[in-house]
């Protein structure tokens, strides 16, 4: 178990280092941020002074090592634009994205698993076919377009919900969250639902195919031969078996939702990390871009580690393999 842990953490470190090199070189190749940072009309002396100050005149490799050295000390640099420490900047935006992503995952899970179970339990029912049709829509219709439709319907036409922005926030464990108040909730419903759609489709299909497979297995037939009720068959055998792929996909999707909620955040003008990174890219705010991408890699690695641990708990056969 400990060996597995250490191996995983070393892997994670390697991934983060590789990622930082790629990002750094990539961003360097895009262009010189100085052109974006200062007024084109300003004189050469000021320009030179700034280049000196940020170290843009040094060789790439040196800039990289300075950056990494600072990072090891917990200093990811300062945003060129906001003139604020990058860490603080990202963390100030993180709660918004976090609550959006978690709400979306909750919606997708709480709807997707029961719907998928039903569709797999009664695959020939009309209702099941309808559910599967919906899941295809969730997959194939572009997020931004659904987002716009949602705004049109619920904000503009019906006027039930606000069309964008974040609304009032309340303090929770030092984070500012919308979900603490009813009014805040009304702001998060539409974007969370929008973000949930794709995952909903995915979870419905995953749950359904797992359910169909388990229901036709010999051990379910054997359970029925013992007189287990249908509720018990589904609650004990089916749920336990399908939880394994679901946890995996849940983890992957949570990671990608946290990192790439950009489209939804843009459509709903949600002030999360996605909007921050898009803004930073347009102005070549290098420290923010690099720090953000490294944070994303870190998140993915962390989530995968947790998923692997849960996985071992759920599937006894994996535990044996990991131990040997």
């Amino acid at each position: 178990m400990i060996g597995f842990f250490i191996q995983r953490i070393l892997q994670a470190l390697l991934v983060i280092i590789a990622m930082s090199v790629i990002v750094f070189v990539g961003v360097y190749a895009i262009g010189n941020p100085i052109d974006v940072m200062i007024d084109p009309a300003s004189d050469q002396a000021l320009r030179e002074a700034l280049i000196q100050r940020y170290g843009f005149d040094r060789p790439l490799i040196e800039q990289y090592f300075i950056f990494m050295g600072n990072m090891l000390r917990g200093d990811l640099g300062e945003s060129f634009i906001y003139r604020l420490p990058v860490i603080g900047l990202i963390f100030s935006r993180m709660p918004a994205t976090l609550e959006l992503a978690v709400s979306a995952m909750l919606i997708a899970t709480l709807l997707g698993i029961p719907l998928g179970l039903w569709a797999g339990y009664k695959p020939d029912a009309i209702s099941s076919k309808f559910i599967m049709g919906l899941s295809v829509l969730g997959f194939s219709v572009p997020t931004f377009w659904v987002g716009l439709l949602l705004i049109m319907a619920f904000a503009v036409e019906l006027g039930w919900l606000p069309s964008g922005g974040r609304g009032p926030v309340t303090d929770f464990l030092g984070m500012k969250l919308s979900i603490g108040s009813m009014e805040g909730l009304s702001y998060i419903i539409l974007p969370a639902f929008n973000l949930a759609l794709f995952k909903l489709g995915l979870l419905i299909r995953l749950t359904r195919s797992g359910t169909v497979e388990v229901m036709s297995s010999d051990y379910v037939r054997f359970a029925r031969a013992q007189g287990l009720s249908e509720r018990k068959v589904v609650g004990l055998h089916v749920l336990k078996n399908i939880s394994i792929p679901i946890v995996t996909v849940f983890g992957l999707e949570l990671g990608s939702t946290l990192a790439f909620a950009v489209v939804t955040e843009t459509v709903f003008n949600w002030p999360g990390m996605g909007k921050l990174i898009i803004d930073s890219i347009t102005v070549l705010d290098r420290p923010v871009m690099v720090a953000y991408l490294i944070l994303v890699v870190f998140l993915f690695v962390l989530i995968n580690l947790v998923v692997d641990l849960i996985y071992g708990q759920l599937d006894p056969r994996i535990r044996v393999r990991a131990a040997s």
Partner: protein, 339 residues
């Protein structure tokens, strides 16, 4: 024999597949008395497992029970629905499946599965259920049952898993247990132990068994009665000793001739020529005729059920006459070789 506890009458089970309707069970009739063991014998694909599933009402689409009755203590199980049949399964009639690798859920502990089985019919605490599960494991000769309870199926050998499945079937002391080749995965000594255990159970508790197998050696040592199936039909029934001593159906005779114990070591075993027919396109009349050494002109019509002494039956136009019967019947002149 007193009133049979399980009586299967003209049971018919069909599967609607692309090639047409497969009559996997086609008019099967047999009965088992209290404390008796019926050996259900037949080649692979003859419909033994489907018969077992049909009795418990476990046939799923594309299959369906097309007709017949399954009377358990006089109640027709084919008429029961939902909760009614659930209360019967596992409590009054249980089944042990053929493949021990697949009958237990790989991600649930043995204890979880057994406790669920106990509590399906008895409203007892988990603790009581667990101790009953432990006792059942001990009954089938599993060493250190307490530890086995906490194991996952993959940590047990095939033989152990099969015993767990048998223990589960025993939990509620059902009137009838259908055992689908439960000892084929076991080595000979363990098989012997289990067979002795089953015999004892039948004698002491009055549990009736339908013992599915294609091993005639098992049948001869264990069963009271025999029911031979071919292509979904019962071709011969009777007391086990009688059928083995003098089979009346040519198929049974062929099966018996191919049992190794009957021959000298090294001698070539005779086999029933040809192979089992596809159920989707059976020949008209007797399904066994193309492979039969006694086939005659009448065989392309449906054979009658012939009744013999001691309640024996055979589904055949030209049944084998026992050696004691000297004069051959008039039909014997038309005997010919199928080849």
């Amino acid at each position: 024999m007193s009133e049979p506890v399980l009586r299967v009458k003209d049971l018919r089970t069909e599967f609607a597949v692309r090639a047409g309707i497969v009559k996997a069970v086609d008019g099967v009739t047999f009965e088992v008395g209290r404390g008796r063991i019926l050996g259900l014998v037949g080649e692979s694909g003859s419909g033994k497992s489907v018969t077992g599933y049909s009795i418990l009402g476990l046939i799923e689409l594309p299959g369906r029970i097309a007709g017949g009755e399954v009377l358990l203590n006089g109640v027709d199980l084919t008429k029961l629905k939902g909760e009614q049949i659930r209360r019967v399964r596992g409590a009054q009639i249980a089944m042990v499946f053929q493949d021990p690798m697949m009958t237990l859920n790989p991600v649930l502990k043995v204890s979880t599965q057994m406790i669920a089985a106990v509590r399906a019919h008895d409203n007892v605490s988990r603790k009581v259920a667990r101790s009953r599960a432990r006792d059942a494991l001990a009954t089938v000769g599993i060493p250190s049952p307490e530890e086995r309870l906490d194991a996952y199926p993959h940590q047990l050998s095939g033989g152990m898993r099969q015993r767990v499945a048998i223990a589960i079937a025993l939990l509620h002391k059902p009137a009838v247990i259908i055992a689908d080749e439960p000892t084929t995965a076991l080595d000979v000594s363990i098989q012997g132990q289990i067979l002795a255990e089953v015999r004892r159970l039948a004698d002491e508790t009055g549990t009736a068994f339908v013992w599915v197998t294609h091993d005639l050696a098992v049948v001869s040592s264990l069963a009271d009665d025999i029911c031979v199936m071919y292509a979904g039909r019962v071709v011969e029934t009777g007391a086990a000793a009688d059928v083995i001593a003098s089979p009346r159906h040519p198929y049974t005779a062929g099966l018996l001739a191919s049992v190794p114990a009957e021959h000298e070591p090294g001698e070539r075993l005779p086999q029933v020529p040809g192979s089992a027919p596809s159920l989707a396109n059976l020949p008209p009349g007797c399904a066994f005729a193309p492979r039969c050494f006694k086939a005659g002109p009448a065989c392309n019509t449906t054979p009658p059920v012939q009744h013999f002494e001691d309640g024996r039956t055979a589904l055949c136009h030209y049944p084998i006459e026992p050696d004691s019967c000297q004069p051959l019947s008039s039909t014997s002149t038309t005997y010919q070789n199928a080849s």
